[in-house]
């Protein structure tokens, strides 16, 4: 680096130039994708109400004054915080309990629990929410009907349409994600640390309290904050449940402003709320990094494969297994209800009489009606393209960030990580504002672009972590052996990264399929996808058809996720820890 002339004539030089050019191009692209929408958003928030950013020449703080003086703002912010805090607490506690049982005790059926948890992540939360609505709506929800019949009471025993139900359902839904993170924490904790506590006289509970828990706290905190951030930004469950319950959070409020039934959408006020939301998310992001850095001081996660000691449960074995089983039963209920409904001509409580009306008509419609087949086709395009583009960009960006230490690479890293702090609804509004008047609007490509922007942060993070684990000497060894740059990439880096690339691809594909934020904000007649069609059918309401589509979507996702997951875990198992060098 210090000797510019030294590089003048050689391959090395051209190679370095290639990476420089590639990183500048990537930086420009990421800036266009991430930074430009936010600038437009900010500009719009300063425009007079009812004007679009490109048409307006005036700047005014009116929207901010209106938003701040609106008494609803505080209420909405408090709702958002309550919703996020409540659901994350439930999710993390549940996940910690199950993860602890699976990783650190002799609970039977661990493999099954793990597989169920990982597959569960493939199921879109909206689908769960629809199932819960069928179970728990105050009118003909199954729970209410059963309770009325059993106890002979009148009225509503339980309603899904309340803040607390929404919190509980979200908590149940995020437990699998929390489980995957917390199980990793528990697995990577050196059991010798606990043994040391026991040898020096602490009792079982004492060790848990004085050693295990304090060591886990930083990790649990960072899992909690990460999920908290995600829940602050969550849109799907608050939309499906909260709208009827009349509990609004920031994301749904922004949706309502942008999709007003009564008046023309007020984009400038929407943008103002979006800016507030963005600031809130950015603050949380900073807190998250503080906590993560704090956690690094403990560095319990050494990456070595330990064999943690398994505590015998003894008499607690049966109750523990029953509790875990109960959780899965509860998780399965909404899904079963949807399955039942998808075979019915109209929604009905399960009964022998209803069973006689069994029909496949809904599935026939799903595969025949033009609108729905188009949605399915669009979904396939969406998943394939957004997941592939995200992973290709992520590998390149992570590569540059890890192996070249220039200012461009650092900027690239920062810009590609920023979407983590941008709530999807805010990004959706910003993208809508930019592309409303372009030919891209109304096409599936605009949703692909939005998803690439939204998920690039995840992609680069995971590829970054994966590349860090590939010892640089593995690359050097290929170069020394006489291999050129591309041979090295093809024969060493790509095969080593493959399991991580596949996992990342799956994650993006799954999230792209389940997301309703961007499809609903950017919806037109032509770019409808399965998730948005699901919502449209549900609100129409065509409950049985919507249920059938939900089942088809989930089945499709499971068929994609499960085999690839099995394949990648085989791949990783084949290269056990020993020689990753």
């Amino acid at each position: 680096m210090s000797s510019a002339p030294a590089a003048a004539l050689t391959n090395q030089h051209t190679r370095r130039n290639v990476t420089t050019i590639v990183s500048i191009v990537l930086l420009a692209l990421m800036t266009l994708l991430v930074v430009a929408p936010l600038l437009i958003l900010f500009r719009t928030s300063l425009a007079p109400s009812g004007e679009l950013p490109f048409e307006s020449g005036t700047y005014s703080p009116d929207n901010y004054i209106e938003a701040v003086t609106n008494p609803r703002l505080l209420e909405i912010v408090l709702n958002t915080l309550q919703y996020a805090l409540g659901s994350v607490t439930i999710g993390v506690l549940l996940a910690f309990g199950i993860a602890w049982l699976v990783e650190r005790t002799d609970l039977p059926g661990k493999a099954l629990v793990r597989t169920l948890m990982y597959s569960w992540m493939a199921i879109p939360p909206v689908v769960l929410a629809f199932g819960w609505i069928l179970l728990g709506n105050p009118g003909n929800g199954i729970i209410n009907v059963v309770v009325r019949a059993l106890f002979g009471v009148e009225g509503v025993a339980f309603t899904i349409y309340s803040m607390s139900s929404m919190i509980v359902i979200t908590g149940l839904a995020i437990a699998p994600t929390a489980f995957s993170m917390i199980a990793g924490l528990l697995r990577n904790m050196d059991p010798q640390l606990e043994s040391a506590g026991a040898v020096h006289g602490a009792s079982g509970l004492g060790v848990f309290r004085t050693v295990t828990l304090p060591l886990l706290v930083p990790g649990l905190m960072s899992v909690g904050i990460l999920l908290f951030m995600a829940m602050i930004q969550a849109f799907d469950l608050p939309l499906v449940i909260g709208l009827t319950a009349k509990v609004q959070v920031l994301s749904t409020q922004i949706f309502l402003l942008a999709n007003s039934d009564i008046s023309r959408p007020d984009y400038s006020l929407t943008a103002t709320f979006g800016t507030f939301f963005l600031v809130l998310a950015a603050v949380l992001m900073t807190v998250y990094f503080r906590v993560v850095r704090l956690g690094e001081r403990f560095r319990v996660v050494t990456g070595k494969a330990f064999r943690p000691s398994k505590r015998p449960l003894g008499a607690w074995k049966l109750p523990a297994a029953v509790m875990v089983g109960l959780y899965f039963t509860i998780m399965l209920l909404p899904f079963l209800v949807l399955l039942w409904t998808s075979f019915q001509p109209f929604y009905a409580i399960p009964s022998w009489e209803a069973l006689s009306r069994f029909t496949l008509q809904n599935y026939a419609s799903v595969f025949k009606e033009r609108q729905i087949t188009r949605a399915l086709f669009n979904t396939i395009i969406l998943i394939l393209f957004s997941a592939t583009i995200v992973m290709v960009l992520s590998v390149m960006i992570a590569w540059i960030a890890v192996r070249t230490k220039t200012r461009v690479s650092r900027a690239l890293e920062l810009v590609s990580f920023a979407p983590m702090a941008i709530p999807p609804v805010v990004l959706a509004i910003a993208i809508l504002l930019i592309y409303l008047r372009t030919p891209l609007y109304g096409t599936i490509w605009l949703i692909i672009l939005a998803h690439v922007t939204a998920y690039i942060a995840y992609g680069t993070r995971t590829m970054h972590a994966a590349l860090l684990q590939i010892h640089k000497e593995l690359e050097s060894a290929a170069l020394i052996s006489g291999a050129g740059w591309f041979t090295m990439l093809r024969r060493v880096i790509f095969p080593l990264l493959l399991p991580h690339i596949l996992n990342g691809w799956l994650w993006v594909a799954g999230h792209s399929a389940r997301d309703i934020t961007f499809p609903l904000f950017l919806i037109t007649a032509t770019n409808v996808v399965a998730a948005s069609e699901l919502y449209v059918l549900w609100t129409t309401p065509e409950i049985p058809k919507s249920s059938a589509l939900a089942i088809v979507l989930v089945a499709g996702l499971l068929m994609l996720v499960v085999p690839v997951q099995i394949f990648t875990s085989r791949l990783e198992l084949g290269r056990s820890s020993k020689s990753s060098a």
Binding site: S3, A6, A8, T10, N11, S476, A477, S481, G482, S580
Partner: protein, 374 residues
Amino acid sequence: MLRLENLNKYYPPTGEVGAGAMPAPALTDVSLDIAQGEFFTLLGPSGCGKTTTLQCIAGLEHPGTGRITMGDRVVFDSDPGILVPPNKRGLGMVFQSYAIWPHMTVYENVAFPLQHGPRKLPSSTVRTKVQAALERVMLQDYVDRPAPYLSGGQQQRVALARALVSEPSIILLDEPLSNLDAKLRDAMRVELRDLVKALGITTIYVTHDQTEALSMSDRIALMNKGRVVQLGTPEDLYLRPKSAFVAEFVGRSNIIQGKVEQVGVDGRGVVNTAFGPLSCPLPATAQQGQTAELMVRPHGVEILPAGAEAKGANVFAATVGRTSFLGEFFDIELVSADGAIVRVFGSPYQRHETGTAVAFRLPEDRCLVLACRS
């Protein structure tokens, strides 16, 4: 064969830690001239720049200034701007982590340089060459084993086979034995040296272990803080260190401070030490009244038989201090009347009880003056 001329290297500052502050140079004026077929060792404490030097030779890092020549080919020169990339240098290298590719079998690892190197060989030739390389390291029975199922010692052998398979004229070894257990390390020292010597390959060997360096090398360059502090044969470094750093890094030593009392005509003189007047060879520049720094190896000190009187040239009286039995020798501390300590490695068959009075001799030709300062 391999010449390094005035290599200098800075790493750019890393991360947040001390950003802004310029870190110390990783290499300062490193010049070496290594002969064809020589077993040459870079020795030094961790962080002294051994790996950096090796990576500059390999082309994985680039010096800021300097020149590197292999045979008559200049592979790096900062001045006219020549830089041959690593894959065009035709080297073999064993990495500290071994860098065995975990997604390949033993065969695929070893065959890689032949299949992807500059000369693409027909697969029948590749097969025979890989077979030969694996036989050389005694791994012929592991051809199809996936790399993750190898022990540390086997991985080290695969790395060695991969480095040798394309018959390079220079091989670079970065602490290849440091991840092995002590027994295996002892055996591999001899085996490794015999192997490269038999093939006549010029070897650059990096280690922080002085025993390895002394036992294997033709010549050693001892490095400290990015500089070569002494260059010579193992005997040179052990018996004639030029500084206290070298003396203490290569083997154990007693450093004794004293004052030059008398400078003789024959290059000898007398230095006044805490034990008494000591006659020893003096450098030509020494002057009376200067402070002298002397070095004696613990093996060089002689404990006189019990009852011998503390009389005669370079013989002093002391009490036996702390002792410890190490099997191969007794590690004994001798304490003079005013508390100065000399460490002696005595015969394991001769026990000295703590507290007894003994006489010891510092033979004149085993006392080495490292420095004289006024």
